[in-house]
Assembly symmetry: C2
Homo-oligomer: 84 residues x 2
């Protein structure tokens, strides 16, 4: 078994209004960061995963995201795996 | 002025107990993802920033993180900039 470090970026799907992002964008503008636009806020998860191969590790992380970590209806998930 | 896309990963400092991460780790184990450990949950922010140069954009994003987006006492920030 090898151990991999998974870095998981989770963002709301583009079609869904990102209220938190809009709010932060307005706050940035009122702090004079006027050049900042299109703010999107998501989640970032890191975890170690033990698996026989990198492919098996990726499958396992995808399944964990679908079942628990992310909401597959509302969120997009991007997984990067590296050797731990 | 050029526009850059900033990808900001925010995580609790290693010394600080990540309660949310621990909870997700326990939930993963009870769903039989027993090979997953050392779970850390953070935030992921993307935004566009207009600036004269990449260095100026990075400085601006760092300042925005320190003032609003992250908590510099409790959180570590990692910023990646790319051409938008």
């Amino acid at each position: 078994m090898n151990t991999y470090r998974a870095a998981i970026r989770i963002q709301l799907r583009k079609q869904i209004l990102d209220v938190q992002g809009k709010t932060v964008e307005q706050a940035l503008h009122s702090l004079n960061f006027t050049g900042m636009t299109d703010v999107h806020i998501g989640k970032y998860v890191e975890l170690n995963v033990s698996a026989a191969s990198k492919d098996a590790a990726l499958e396992s992380v995808k399944e964990a995201c679908a079942k628990l970590i992310a909401n597959p209806i509302m969120e997009d998930v991007h997984i990067d795996l590296s050797e731990a």
